[in-house]
Symmetry: C2
């Protein structure tokens, strides 16, 4: 399977880390966002929305949206399980993944989009909103730190898709100047545990 990806962007990284945990070796096609390759004729033929990641399946069909890609990989390659074995475990992981996407990833991505020089001139930026979004992300990181008190992983008492979403997003938050604070010992310990996994560099 072929993955259209970008090495710096958090959404394709989510897929690469997920695939690495499954022991999959994807054929990676690097698409340079900075050089506007995502908006080029060749790539728009792959994804008219001009966004990565895109998974090309062995039958040639194309799948977009990083979480949909990860869920599909979970279906195709059930082991090791990353998205829950029992129905209740699946519900717990789904809830945590959504929480992370909507309460942490969206604010971080929006703060980056509206406040970072990378997007200046590419999109209409509203710097005041970048500040509001950054505050939301800070609040959510505090909440994660509390939640991780006495828990090695975000949910289900083991490494799951939620840790992948949480880790790649928290790591990307560096781009908006957010790093775990010295007193956030639970968050820091969790980040250390996840970043030690080989998949963290995929």
């Amino acid at each position: 399977m072929k993955l259209y990806s970008n090495r710096y962007a958090p959404s394709p990284r989510r897929v690469r880390m997920f695939a690495a945990e499954k022991g999959l070796s994807l054929d990676i096609v690097e698409v340079d966002i900075r050089a506007n390759e995502t908006q080029g004729h060749d790539f728009l033929a792959v994804n008219p929305r001009g966004e990565v990641p895109v998974l090309e399946l062995d039958d040639g069909s194309l799948l977009t949206e990083s979480l949909a890609i990860c869920r599909h990989l979970e279906c195709l390659y059930p082991e090791p399980n990353l998205w829950g074995i029992t129905q209740l475990e699946q519900a717990e992981i789904n809830s945590m993944v959504d929480r992370l996407m909507f309460r942490l990833y969206i604010p971080v991505a929006q703060a980056f989009r509206h406040g970072h020089s990378f997007w200046a001139g590419r999109v209409e930026q509203v710097p005041a909103y970048a500040q509001v979004a950054t505050q939301s992300a800070i609040k959510e990181l505090h909440s994660l730190d509390s939640m991780l008190d006495g828990r090695p992983y975000l949910c289900a008492e083991r490494f799951t898709a939620a840790d992948i979403v949480g880790f790649t997003t928290t790591d990307f938050a560096k781009a908006i100047g957010l790093r775990p604070e010295p007193h956030q010992v639970n968050l820091r310990r969790w980040l250390d545990i996840i970043s030690a996994r080989p998949s963290a560099t995929a």
Copy 2:
């Protein structure tokens, strides 16, 4: 099962519509957001984040995040299928649901949050961002109209979870002044089809 809900908010409506399609009768607990009941002592004991929907399962455990709740209902009550039978169909629906959530729901919800008087004084509003978000939502509605050309439903050639997410969001977009334009005949036809389902008033 008990659902903490609010009759005007799009996220609990998503769950109510999904449950109605399954023929489920949930015990609805109305939580008044306008009267700040979501921030009150009683409700914070249910959900410390102060948000609806929350599903209380028969064993008393609580599940948050509307899509995680819908996915859990799909597990518990597989018929009628709303989230895909084959793996490829599941992938297609997951991709469409994520696209709708991130490209339409988030902009509409943010435009409402940052531009509507309902939230004035409750959150820090950035009206300039409400305008940018509204433009994103308009662009996505145009895209949906094109996509629905010759297709009765958003994906999988039948009514699915994607139509529920798309319909409840498009309907909520009225709150930011967005309605399908007269020339968007595909979007209008699709909205007519979905709004005629009994679940649309759940």
